[in-house]
Amino acid sequence: MVFEQEQEEVAPGAVHGHRLSTVVPSSVTGEVDYALADADLAFKLHYLRGVYYYPPGDVARGLATKVLKDPMFPWLDDYFPVAGRVRRAEQEAAGGEGDAGAPRRPYIKCNDCGVRIVEAKCDRDMDEWLRDDAPDRLRQLCYDKVLGPELFFSPLLYVQITIFKCGGLALGFSWAHLIGDVPSAVTCFNKWAQILSGKKPEDTVLTPLNKPVQGQSPEGVTAPRSVKQVGPIEDHWLVSAGRDMACYSFHVSDEVLKKLQQQQKGRHDAAAGTFELVSALAWQTVAKIRGGDVDTVTVVRTGAAARSGKSLANEMTVGYVASAGSSPAKTDVAELAALLAKNVVDETAAVAAFQGDVLVYGGANLTLVDMEQVDVYALEIKGLRPVHVEYGMDGVGEEGAVLVQPDADGRGRLVTVVLPRDEIDSLRAALGTALQVA
């Protein structure tokens, strides 16, 4: 793990010149341990990757690295678990032979080790980059690391600051899902931006502390249908899918949304919201390109009602939906949307209680992730709003994932799919017609 100076051949237009540094909390946290809840550990193999694009101009030019870094010190005072490192609990003293095989429970040691900051450059203009619509551009703008193989020295959050040739700025966050779900992560980043802009953010709620062991399901029970059991995972927390996975984002404009909503008029169970409609469209398209075989989908949603108010928690609901009988490739989008609205089997508690290591996203089934209620465009830096935000995921299983988030003006939706790289082109083609307004 020796970092050489960047001397290798740089592909034209690639992101290069990475310089790493660390930001720590501004005051000493002390001997504090942050216990991980069962729900947290269920998501430990996944990593959120979010990129925010800011347009070139005077404001962007004034955003030197120091300006971006300085507010992070007090920010980490509030979010000190994010600056910690994963450790495993001490072995039970004089344990019998039986205990030796079971891996010890992970927790976060809040030792102020810090968050990694990466500074990089790109020799292309931001507009050109965005227009290019290359698959997996997310991976270049978010530092591509996971927890492990040395858990002791693996940061839970990386922030990459990429400067484009035109002066535009991209902020890439690589967040370990273990420490918090999508709404927690986005709120955390928004608070940093508020401190940067001189506003005083709301208090961070990290209590009550997670209770380590809640009702664990007995050993030998099979995994819930929403997830896939893997492992056992040692210290490298990534299950590499057999196939190369890539993220690809596409925009669903509000005209297309209106068209989809029209299609479900006249149905007696027209209760589907935009998330159900958009993800149903994605479900149908993926089923088409795979030639059927996507009968069940896992649905991960942010229910505002279900949240406890804790600033760092994994509280998204996990469930599955089985398409009744007919293949989703041939079913109407409206009908699929109705299924998603009504027939979700909630398995949140079962997933948390399950004792083995699981893949939630893309493990057992194609996973649909609802990010509609997450305010991603609120990350304003000195009044500068991002022109584009896209959220993807790493550590996704081969079945793939679909993330639905609001777009820049809030009326349409931005969908990011995480699929095997060779399915991306077929998806693009299949979507082409569906996304055209009639």
Binding site: V2, S27, V28, G114
Partner: protein, 494 residues
């Protein structure tokens, strides 16, 4: 009150010792009192009439009286003029690094692991850090927060500007010092010596006078702070009515050691950012507001001995990385240097009682019995406060043992090491600031600052406090003094 047996023996001894000290230290007073009493009695017995006739019998006329008066005035003037000018320490300021430079243990270890594949090196540095006596608040300059560190000349200059200018700005705020009033400028920074010098950098930034006498001392190690004070004092003897600005610092940026030699890895773990700016003056009117007066400066250089010369040595290792190697004999040599220094400073500061004891024991060892242990004078009788260079835990432990000091006396040094790390020549000033921030500095207190440095040198300065210092002091300890003293564990578990 202890009773009986063993305790009464030691209590008696204590009183004997106290009595002896009082007798010897006030010997002249005790001798003078009976003489004066006898004279007064005699005068009373003679009566005024006899005194007058005694006076007339001397047959003094005007010329005699005038000559005598002239003689008295002449001797008095020569005496007053030949005394050295008093050197006052008007005030001083220490640089407080921002929280954005903070380096917790975990971050330091993680960076070490990421920079080097050498497992042994990482484990060695972990062990040093665990036993170092440093805390989680110490700071490194921004260039050292990069993986790997980024030691360019620009970054070094930037660090120098931040630490030095902040310290001087703070000093100006405290004393109202005007740039045109600085007559002498002495800067010491051992390991960073650009052209133009750091003193020129200060002159440029603050637009100091063109006839300023500036000096830039480099390469003189961690004891250079007291060497600068000594130089400023000598200059103030030559130049009447002058102010001297002394700046002590060490610039960390260019000195990160990138290799794996164990004897060179220690500085990486211990050295931290720091700077101090001190205003010295020989102007009479400063005496009113000055905090301290400089009483003695004693410098001891053991460089003539080869072992001492090589014990802190900057060189390149086999891979070409430059670093400072510390020899295993460092503590022994430091002890030696300290003994030499004490031999010189002892007679200057110790009360007569201690000097006599030392003398008799020395005579006894030479003439009567060679196995007698040498008498270690009790410096606690000579000083109220001790500032021992926070070079590392081992140095402080060694000195505490050699000088038989209590934990309270070395508290300032240990806490400075914990909060600020080894800031090299400026550490003595952080320690003094600690004592002041704790409200322990009273008028008349005497302070002994001891610095050690490459060469091998041991330098001492003795200050006398001129006015009690009130808290809060607006110094680098203000926001954290309530947490101190902390108990620094022998080994921190990382």
């Amino acid at each position: 009150m202890p009773t009986g047996g063993v305790f009464s023996g030691s209590v008696n001894l204590k009183y004997v010792k106290l009595g002896y000290q009082y007798l010897v230290n006030h010997f002249l007073t005790l001798l003078l009192v009976p003489v004066m009493a006898a004279t007064a009695l005699e005068l009373a017995r003679l009566g005024p009439g006899e005194l007058l006739s005694l006076w007339r019998s001397l047959e003094l006329d005007l010329v005699h009286i005038l000559c005598s008066a002239f003689l008295v005035v002449f001797v008095g003037t020569v005496y007053v003029m030949s005394r050295p000018r008093p050197v006052y320490l008007v005030d001083y300021a220490c640089y407080k690094p921002p929280a954005s430079c903070r380096v917790p243990f975990a971050t330091f270890m993680e960076h070490t692991r990421l920079i080097s594949d050498d497992d042994k090196r990482v484990r060695f540095q972990t062990r040093i850090l665990e036993r170092s006596g440093l805390g989680e608040d110490t700071c490194l300059p921004p260039a050292n927060h990069y993986i790997p560190p980024n030691p360019s000349m620009e970054a070094s200059r930037a660090e120098a500007q931040v630490v030095i200018f902040s310290a001087i700005d703070d000093l100006v705020r405290r004393t109202g010092l005007k740039p045109k009033d600085i007559d002498i400028l002495v800067v010491n920074c051992s390991l960073f010596s650009p052209t133009p010098s750091l003193s020129a950098m200060i002159i440029n930034k603050y637009k100091l006078r063109s006839n300023i006498r500036s000096f830039n001392l480099s390469g003189m190690g961690c004891s250079a702070g007291l060497i600068s004070i000594d130089l400023a004092r000598d200059m103030l003897q030559v130049h009447p009515n002058s102010n001297a600005l002394v700046v002590s610092t060490e610039i960390i940026t260019p000195n990160f050691y990138q290799g794996s030699r164990r004897d060179m890895l220690l500085p990486n773990c211990l050295f931290r950012m720091g700077a101090a700016a001190i205003l010295l003056s020989n102007r009479r009117r400063e005496a009113r507001r000055a905090k301290y007066r400089l009483v003695h400066v004693v410098r001891t250089h053991k460089g003539a001995d080869d072992r001492a010369y090589r014990c802190v040595y900057q060189e390149e290792d086999d891979q070409g990385f430059s670093g400072i190697s510390l020899s295993k004999e460092l503590m022994a040599i430091a002890g030696d240097a300290l003994k030499s220094n004490i031999t010189t400073i002892g007679p200057l500061v110790l009360p007569m009682s201690e000097q006599l004891l030392f003398f008799f024991r020395l005579v006894g060892r030479k003439l009567i019995n060679k196995t007698w242990k040498p008498y270690i004078p009790d410096f606690k009788l000579a000083f109220e406060h001790f500032c021992i260079h926070a070079g590392g835990r081992a140095v402080i432990d060694e000195l505490q043992k050699n000088l038989q000091l209590s934990p309270r006396h070395v508290e300032a040094s240990r806490m400075t090491l914990h909060r600020f790390g080894n800031t090299s020549s400026s550490s003595l000033w952080y320690e003094l600031a600690y004592i002041e921030a704790k409200g322990r500095m009273r008028r008349g207190d005497r302070v002994w600052q001891i610095g050690f440095g490459s060469g091998f040198k041991c330098n001492s300065a003795v200050w006398k406090c001129l006015r009690s210092i009130k808290t809060p002091t607006n110094g680098p300890w203000d926001d954290c003094i309530h947490r101190y003293p902390v108990d620094v564990p022998e080994v921190v578990k990382l």
